[in-house]
Amino acid sequence: MAKAPSALKGGKSTEGVKLNITSMMDMFTIILVFLLKSYSTSPEASVSLSPDIKLPSSASDKPPIAAVTVMVTQRQVIVDDSGKTAVVAEIEDFKAGKIKGVEEKMFNIEALTEHLTQLKDRQIEINQYRTAGEFKGEILIQADEKIPFSILKKVMYSIGQAEFGEFKFITIAEKG
């Protein structure tokens, strides 16, 4: 730290500490330009991703919408409704497609269907008070890329039972 020269001069006008911040300005300018380039106001900021899920990549280009999300990790099935998450099922062995509480040949994950039916009823109730609103049954599905189809099949069936028919699978956009 530079000592203010005034102390040594004994009484003369104080000089401030000279801080050389031009290099920091350089850095800030470059960072700002980079951030300006990747600035985005799309609604996908509201889609919260689960850290346990590694999403597959796809060449699709439709942006996501805000809707109820079902997350299928390697160990759990979670329903996320605008930030409120609820674990509805545990996956015992994801490679073998075994979900706790669901027998081999059965498709229905009851807790999932129940939870979604409640959300659906709440949405329909809210839509009664809104002029523009009709229950469309849209639901976002996030699944880890290593999930076998057997688990996805059961999840999709259970979601369908709760009358959410418009599936939207979330994927990461491929570059180019």
């Binding site: 951030l35 699709s60 996501p64 979330i170 994927t171 990461i172």
Partner: protein, 187 residues
């Protein structure tokens, strides 16, 4: 031409230090704001409409019997098995049954992985044939039904959906069968 150095006493030019405070202020405001809305990964969605489920053991869409008689439906189905892709359709657009062809998948695995390029190629042919057909059920014209086997990984399923939905030919985007439905238990 060089002049003799002037004998006039040079006045000392004092350069004021650059006033960087206002611009620093701007940076400190803008950068955190930008950081909050930066997008490092872009998310996209693949839409798929669930068919009406009538029987718990079968999730394939059931056609209205009255409609079925009026128009021919394509019912393009792609079975994704351990050995590869098997295509099937109600109308004979899938020309995989040659004389003495083995009863294997239409598009077998290539070097142990799914041959998406070949799948897209065959679908471009089918799409061209479908576009020429006149009396085909409009609503179901560009739909494909995927029937994966149980152990298929989700990433492979998504790549299959990509291969069946669209492709790029000579830099132009060509839609193949964008309406995809996923069905299960074909056994």
């Amino acid at each position: 031409m060089a002049f003799k150095p002037s004998k006039k006493s040079k006045k000392e030019i004092r350069v004021d230090e650059l006033e960087l405070t206002p611009i620093m202020n701007l940076m400190v405001m803008l950068i955190p704001f930008m950081l909050l809305s930066v997008e490092f990964i872009r998310l996209t969605i693949i839409e798929s409409t669930a068919p009406e489920v009538s029987d718990p053991s079968e999730m394939v869409a059931q056609q209205d019997p009255q409609e079925e008689e009026q128009q021919k439906a394509l019912d393009l189905t792609v079975f994704i098995t351990k050995e590869g892709f098997t295509l099937a359709a109600s109308i004979g657009v899938v020309s995989n049954q040659e004389e003495g062809a083995e009863a294997g998948p239409t598009i077998p695995l290539k070097d142990g992985v799914y041959d998406y390029a070949k799948l897209t190629e065959m679908l471009v042919d089918i799409r061209d044939k479908v576009d020429e057909m006149a009396d085909i059920d409009e609503k179901k014209k560009y739909s494909v039904i995927l029937m994966p086997y149980d152990e298929l990984l989700y990433s492979d399923l998504v790549q299959t959906m990509d291969a069946t939905r669209e492709t790029t030919i000579d830099g132009k985007r060509k839609w193949l069968f964008p309406n995809v439905a996923i069905s299960g238990s074909f056994l």
